[in-house]
Amino acid sequence: MASFATMASGSGSSNSTNMKGLVSYIAALRQARHREAEEKVVRQEMAHIRQQFRQQLNGYQKKKYLSKVCFTYILGYEVDVGHMEAVNLIASSKYSEKQIGYLALTLLMHENSDLIRLVVNSIRKDLDDLNEVHNCLALHAIANIGGSEMAETLAPDVHRLLISPTSRSFVKKKAALTLLRLYRKSPEALSDVPDWAARIVAIMDDDDLGVATAVASLVMTMAQDHPDAFANAYPKAVDRLAKIIVEEDYSEDYLYYKVPAPWLQVKLLRLLQYWPASDDETIKATIHNVLDHIVQNSQNTPKNVQRNNAQNAILFEAINLAIHLDTESAVVAKASVLLGKFILSRETNVRYLGLDTMAHLAACVESLEPIKMHQKTIMHSLRDRDISVRRRGLDLLYSMCDVDNARSIVGEMLRYLQVADYALREELVLKIAILTEKFATEYAWYVDTILQLISSAGDHVGEEVWFRVVQIVTNNEDVQEYAATKAYEHLQSSSCHENLIKVGGYVLGEYGHLIANNPGASPIEQFHALHSRSHLCSQPTRALLLSTYVKWLNLFPEIREQLLYVLKRYTHVLDSELQQRACEYVALAERPDGSDELLQAVCDEMPPFPEKSSLLLGRLQKKHGDTNDKRTWIIGGKEVNRNRDEARLESLRRGPANGGAMPTTKAAGAAAPPSVIPAGGQQSNGAGIDDIMAGLEGLDMSVQPGGVGVTNGMGENGGEAGESSYTARAPLIDHGGDGEESADRTASSIKPTTTGVGVAAPSSSSAAPPLVFPPSITKSYLKTAFSNEGVLYEDGSLQIGLKTEFHGSRGRLALYLGNKISVGFTSLSLRVRPHPEEPDVANPAIKASMSKLPPSSLGAMTQIQQVVDVSCRGVATYPPLLHVEYLAGSLQSLVLPLPVPMSKFISPVPPGSLGGPAQFFERWKALEGEGRQAQRVFGGFKLSRETKSGVDEGRMRRVVEKGLRLGLLEGIDPKSENVVAAGLWYCDEATTEVGGGTTTSTASKVGILLRLEPNAAARQCRCTVRSTRGDVSAEVARLVVCALGGDAGLLLDLKGARAGVEGAQPAA
């Protein structure tokens, strides 16, 4: 443990670089008793250095002076010398000089400095240097000051250092993070990222945990933009976690207080939150096992603070992942019990994180019940000594609020508002306003709460809060009278905040007549209540009050005299806005023709506001905007998060063509959950809009209250009010330009998200390059497709053998991967994927999955077995693909088709079960005709070896029986050389219910009859397949041609095969 207590014992005797000048300079600065003296020393020294730099200096001198400059800078003085010297020293061949040069570079310059251009070449030279220490200096510099220019010129060099097999671990780590920096600075300059993905992901398996940690950071950022290209990182991360946590396989070096590599664990757990939950059962089970282990490990609390910290860091991230994967899982249930304990902990850090994580849970779960159990504790946390804890408590209360507990939570928040820290109040007010609106079941409660909020929070109430009240009251007729009564009551209290006067002014101006008959609320009393306060108000509020008065002119003729008196007095005020308003209103009231039609038209009741989402949410969520790495969740209820995810997915699907387009209001409205206020159908809830939408819509809203309200508008630009007030709905204030501009601003502020998405979409297409199989595959595929075992692939270093076993609609493929060379393969990755041409990739005709996670390495000269389970869901024309990647010096990548033609799922009909020839041909005839039969004529089959002219009947029969798995029926066909066979094809037909999205499978069987008529003379053969399903017949016929004709190209070249089928049809 460090002991900074011993600071009296000076140790600054010798600097590591033995620069006496520097030491004495530092000593002189330390001796300066006060700031002025220190400044004097600095000024003198800088003057001296400036003079020195004008002369011819050697490397040592430059280094010495530059060190002084750096030290001065670190002390907090602006320095304007030494930049050129730094550039020179970087090019020096001496490490000590180079190092000071780089230090000065990172301290004194930044990405936009003009001198950066001068160092790019030196940096590149150091990147190429054989000396790794120089590589590191260069990487470190790029990581600190690299901008888009460096990204363009140096990224390939950095990438090369990252993937080079000769790079040492400490270089790789630095290169990974440097690349990350460049990518963040300029993603467009690194357009190769999707192509680099596989190679970068492979490094996650690096033996060195430090390298793995650094690469995990890199992958995390890049994967957000290219989720598909980096998809392979998911199983890799799971595998690595399982190794560390379950198998306890890690290097001792990375034990931190007995916890293995906590940073890597945390990073990987977080990385997994950037993809939707995997649907691969094996991966799911492994993650579950990992999470279970982590939760289990946390049961005992170690005494050591450090160890406890590290353990908790992992635990909290694991809980976050568990919540992300499935809120209903057993792990989450366990975790929520743990969290309940944590928020009662005596350790403040644990309480803090407990509340934070619980807020995440509350933001995602279906049922809030387990959290509501702790409501008392959570409310109590608002009284915690620590503001950090109070903040998290507030977030949690906000997230866990629903219709049932809204009253108590909002009540508690209102009470807390009185004593809350000033820093918290504005956000607190917004949260109260949103919850009140969202979960109100009665108007009375809504109005009471909001008015109380406005009166007690005073200055902390943002404009949008009272805009929103006006909007809701205007749009809901039922609440208008009550709102007017309550607003009037508040106006009569002794102290009344200006915001309340605004609400009162607006509401009474619109709906004052509804309460004019109440005792104590006559027009004249209403007028006095408002006007007596106007002298204390700011100019915009007074302007609003003038509008109220002109509305009353229309509503309350009985107080016309008083109103006109006030308005006329305002025609003489100095403020031009108020004066103009007053003049126009007076002119409106005293029309020369004596008619008040115009007044009535202008002062008519406000129409309901157009439906828009809540401005409040937009405001709140703007506060929690995007970070460099997107947050995986946001504070708030589950709808917010779900819709946010949906929006993200939606924009992913939309692709680049209209990626930038905002969803329409209508769509957003549809996404919003039904409003909770029973009669408030008109009222937009707004909870279901993702943050981008809310930001944009909120902006529209801010124009609305000022713009649409003609007479009630309170803009600063009332000059045009006179002309425009003739059309009641014309905007009073021309916010057009302004609004657009800010819309642009919003658009640009959200741009990173949309462009990120936009980049992602094309990447998914570029991530799937045209399928290229190794050339040797056609032959081996043909062999393995029609036999139970064989070698699927072989090259100089790798052999992949195959043994298969099929029963009905299911089967197992045992893959044997053999390493043929004396170097181990690392970062091995095996994946089975549906063929990209598959019509429904999510639900392929042949479902293939691995029963366990494949190992991540393959030792020299060894072999491993990996089992792939397959099942038949339909007529498969496209083979599932096996992706093999491994590192042996460089990254090797292979794509192989897995030989599972549909014939594998055929079982032979036992001979004799179909009866004699008569019965057979009865069936045969029954299946005649279009849509049942497929016929092909093909050549190229082998002739009998003995006769050289006849048909090799033995082979033909063997292929039909063993290869196509059909049962031979002897003695059926009158011609002995003809082959007749029958079989049953098994399939678990997957049917997707419309709308429900659930997939159920029903087992089905299809009988297949085959007849082969070879013609030795013409060296051709006619093949006829009949079954109840045309697609089955066609596919079997195709397979027969492939198997007997020996045409593997036909087997893999699917488009040609199809054409062949169609072409063969008319020949029948």
Binding site: N15, I100, A143
Partner: protein
């Protein structure tokens, strides 16, 4: 996910180390240090957690709008910053991070930093941080690079820092004498340069062989 700044402040508010991972003018740096000190020093040590939301740092850390052309690609517009700190005797170690970092992991990282310093300077004290500011920078650069966590293994950090320090000393001492001549006779200087490079490489090799 990024560390914005690493600051070491003593109990009197004097910064002993202040590194910012984005370009910030000296004046603003000083303001930031003062703000951070104010935030942290107002919190009693006992019974409070080590994390602090710091919305007030946002205005100071965000680059001014005019120079944000290059940084427009990084959506830093609405970062929430968090201060994570830990006291050690007279010094307070403070990391300013964005909201995507794991709080506890950063807290552990502070511990790693301090332990690395302690191992590099046996029994580290405040004076070490002053007189060996370049070494402290070098250790920090082994720990965090450009705002990203680079290495968390104390052995590895110290080993790298010591290697760099040795390489520096070696290249400095081996060439101290002929240096005067080097600047005069350029041809000779080239020769010296070769020597220095080989020496540094030699060091690197020696230490690499001991690594394995």
């Amino acid at each position: 996910m990024a560390v914005e700044s690493v600051v070491i402040i003593n109990n009197y508010g004097k910064a002993r180390l202040a590194t910012f991972y984005r370009p910030i003018s000296t004046a603003r740096q000083q303001l930031l240090i003062r703000t951070i000190y104010h935030l942290v020093s107002n919190r009693p040590d006992e019974g409070l957690c080590n994390f602090l939301d710091a919305p007030q740092l946002k205005a100071l850390l965000q680059p001014p709008a005019s120079s944000s052309k290059a940084s427009s690609t990084t959506p830093g517009i609405d970062n929430d910053y968090r201060v994570i700190y830990r006291h050690y005797a007279t010094l307070c170690f403070i990391f300013v991070v964005d909201s995507a970092e794991s709080d506890l992991a950063i807290l552990d990282l502070i511990q790693v930093f301090v332990e690395s310093l302690d191992r590099f300077f046996p029994n580290v004290c405040e004076l070490d941080l002053i007189f060996h500011y370049d070494e402290v920078q070098s250790i920090l650069s082994q720990l965090i690079q450009g705002g990203l966590v680079l290495e968390t293994n104390i052995n590895e950090i110290v080993k790298q820092a010591q290697a760099a320090s040795k390489a520096r000393k070696a290249s400095a001492s081996s060439t101290q004498l002929p240096q005067g001549a080097a600047s005069v006779v350029s041809g000779n200087g080239f020769q010296v340069g070769i020597n220095a490079a080989t020496t540094a490489a030699g060091w690197a090799r020696d230490w690499m062989s001991t690594r394995r």
